[in-house]
Point group: C2
Chain length 440, copies 2
């Protein structure tokens, strides 16, 4: 393989991230050329609306609205995709890999849904497929899993990988806001999308967790292997009462390999001890806690989104695949390695068997014998109470009271039974809510 | 270059880290072979006392006490050095590089003192020189600087990179121990060396900072460019009073590029706000905060020492240089890039010009007019007081009192003048002490 004297890229997508990439390539051109060993040349920028791309970032002649100009140009070494979504990005990247191009993408949905297929294809074609920016923006968690921890066995991953959810819960806690107000604030500040459903429902975090677990466990993790619960049912009362018990409520994504070999894969709000590091990752910050058998606990934290951190991760990936091109080392990090650790199909632990402590919140009319009835339901499922608080007694007549309990460790299946049965008690107002407590 | 079908290593050093490496190579052999794309074969283990190497880790036939067996064996692909110290490690690694071997080392003292020479030689010979384990054990800060942030410009690095110092200050804070007691505890637990001088004097952290700053700023940073102050003059009183002002005292290492282009390079105990992330990195944990122009703040935290984390980093480096061997990509990450960012010689900012807030502690006989005299000295150097606390008044007659002040921002040179002049006041007992306050 002859070393090309420059690394020529075709960029699909010229939104905020795409323009951030062009800005970075322009402003840090000298440093990047030195660190890569060759300059990076932008050959094409494909945008839905080329007229909206800033003039100072790219010459008009390089702009197009047709992705085929990238695929049709044999001089493009690296195809960079930052449009997102399954299509047309998926077909585009398939074609790029089939054509033997190096690929850098920030597309988490595509990787979570069809990552296995793309990785397999990239490996067959001996093409590098890099995607640091797809998970947790500026935090180099992909590189750490693929390279820094290549000799370790991952025991568990615990992270805050959705900045919007973290911002919302942080503001509910620090400023006493209600969920809708905190979410509106996040939208006004530009953290949350116009439609924040994917963020607050846990869907976005599930995408990221599927990618991380695939790398960490060499397993083909699918989105529907992940138990997902959003933060949208967490109330201001939950945040206040959790704090009284010494906890913060955080939007967690967890992947663990159990002794049985099965994977525990979950995305949900959770109570974590106030003094823990994850409790103190606030605002729109992301963090991932990796626990390795040898390395022990290792935390990475930083901005999980935003044009500049994401652009930085994309360009560092371009530098990395560019180094592989210059040295003729395409396919240097075998992707197979991250599917093949175990040849057995992955086993996902039945979520009902997950044992942990729970926070339970019940709203009820204040009737005599209420606590006895609640205790009866818990007892029937063998769930025992560690602490209990009643709020709102002595208020206006018939105003509902709130009963909050921390349980001892219990299987999730039993807690679901408890919630189902509690809903039948005539005094209960609204739906009882359980939030998992995450230890360590 | 023909791909060897296995990566053959020669290991110099069979102490706790060396034996950890052998254990890891044995226990994770399958995973490592898959992730690397080839098995790793240990060809030689050189130990000062081969009889002390555990039988189950390495066949007797591979053991030797003579480093030349590694250099003389043309079949050794990767030379791994974990003995530490300048010599004979330095001469050994020079010979290995001259012989065209790939090199992995955990030797921070050698890299801090002669890293520039070794990197230059490695580049001339197109050999990889990897040293993730040399700084902060299991934390992949070297890889993050060389690869993940390759497209960014580093604004500042702030870290806790000496676990012993962090343990000692944490115990002084959490358990109210005095410095010597906390240090003894660290020694008993095996965190501190039998001779902990290099740890508590800041020397060890200065080694690490010199390496990190070299990578971050592409500059040839020497040990004596770093302003170094140990934690050994921090007293239990300082820890208690700092806390009262809302601060924790932490052993910091700081590298910043100033607007003037000069580097600010410091290792010293510092007051950091109690609610900051670094304040909450406790015990023997290490952490490094990288601030990139694009990526913003990015934190990495984990175990900075210990046989297993260090061994893990060394073996991940072997995997990485092994991948370069298998794909014929030796010298893939140009080391030059990390010296050449600026061709101007590095400028180190005169430490006397460092402006920050200070914590000042003065012990004195309780005489009328004392505060007036202290205020006079501060005023003469244009240092103004933000807060002041007097401790110990009304104690036994003639028992000294402690006066503690937080100053407004002032240049370090002025504070040195203050300390010098205060020592001339007849009431003063012992040496007045200043501790820097680190913001942000």
């Amino acid at each position: 393989v002859t070393s090309p004297r420059r690394i020529r890229i075709g960029l699909l997508g010229a939104g905020v991230v795409g323009q951030g990439i062009l800005e970075l390539l322009r402003d840090h051109a000298g440093t990047i050329a030195e660190r890569l060993g060759a300059p990076i040349e932008v050959r094409h920028v494909v945008a839905r609306d080329p007229n909206r791309v800033r003039n100072d970032l790219v010459p008009k002649a390089l702009l197009s609205f047709d992705p085929r100009v990238i695929l049709d140009d044999p001089e493009v070494d690296v195809v960079v995709e930052v449009v997102g979504g399954l299509e047309p990005a998926g077909t585009f990247l398939r074609s790029a890999i089939e054509g033997g191009r190096q690929v850098v993408t920030a597309n988490k949905a595509l990787l979570a849904e069809r990552g296995h297929e793309l990785i397999t294809l990239a490996e067959a074609k001996r093409v590098d497929l890099y995607f640091e920016a797809a998970v947790a923006g500026g935090i180099p968690i992909i590189r750490v899993l693929r390279e820094a921890l290549a000799s370790d066995r991952i025991v568990a991953l615990r992270g805050i990988v959705n900045g919007t959810s973290n911002y919302v819960l942080s503001r509910m806690r620090d400023a006493g806001l209600a969920f809708p107000d905190a979410l509106r604030e996040a939208q006004e500040l530009g953290f949350a999308e116009a439609d924040p459903t994917l963020d607050v429902s846990g869907g976005d975090a599930a995408h990221k967790l599927a990618i991380l677990a695939t790398l960490a466990y060499g397993a083909q993790v699918h989105l529907d292997d992940v138990t997902v619960e959003g933060i949208d049912e967490v109330t201001a009362t939950d945040v206040v009462l959790a704090r009284r018990f010494g906890f913060a409520i955080k939007p967690l994504a967890v992947a663990r390999k159990l002794a049985s070999g099965a994977l525990d894969l979950r995305v949900h709000p959770a109570l974590v001890e106030e003094t823990s590091v994850l409790a103190n990752i606030s605002g729109a910050l992301n963090a991932v806690y990796v626990e390795g058998a040898m390395v022990g606990p290792c935390l990475l934290s930083g901005l999980g989104a935003g044009a500049l951190p994401t652009a930085m991760s994309v360009v560092s990936d371009i530098v990395d695949v560019g180094r592989n091109l210059l040295t003729g080392a395409r396919g240097r990090v075998p992707s197979r390695a991250f599917r093949g650790e175990s040849l057995e199909p992955i086993q996902v632990r039945d979520p009902a068997e997950h044992r942990t402590r729970f926070y339970l919140r019940i709203q009820s009319q204040d009737r005599p014998g209420l606590l006895g009835k609640i205790a009866g339901v818990l007892g029937a499922f063998d769930v025992s109470i560690e602490q209990l608080v009643q709020e709102g007694r002595g208020g206006a007549e018939d105003a509902p009271i709130t009963v909050v309990m921390l349980t001892h460790e219990a299987p999730e299946g039993a807690i679901r039974g408890v919630l189902r049965e509690l809903a039948f008690l005539p005094q209960i107002v609204g739906r009882p809510k359980a939030i998992r407590i995450e230890e360590g």
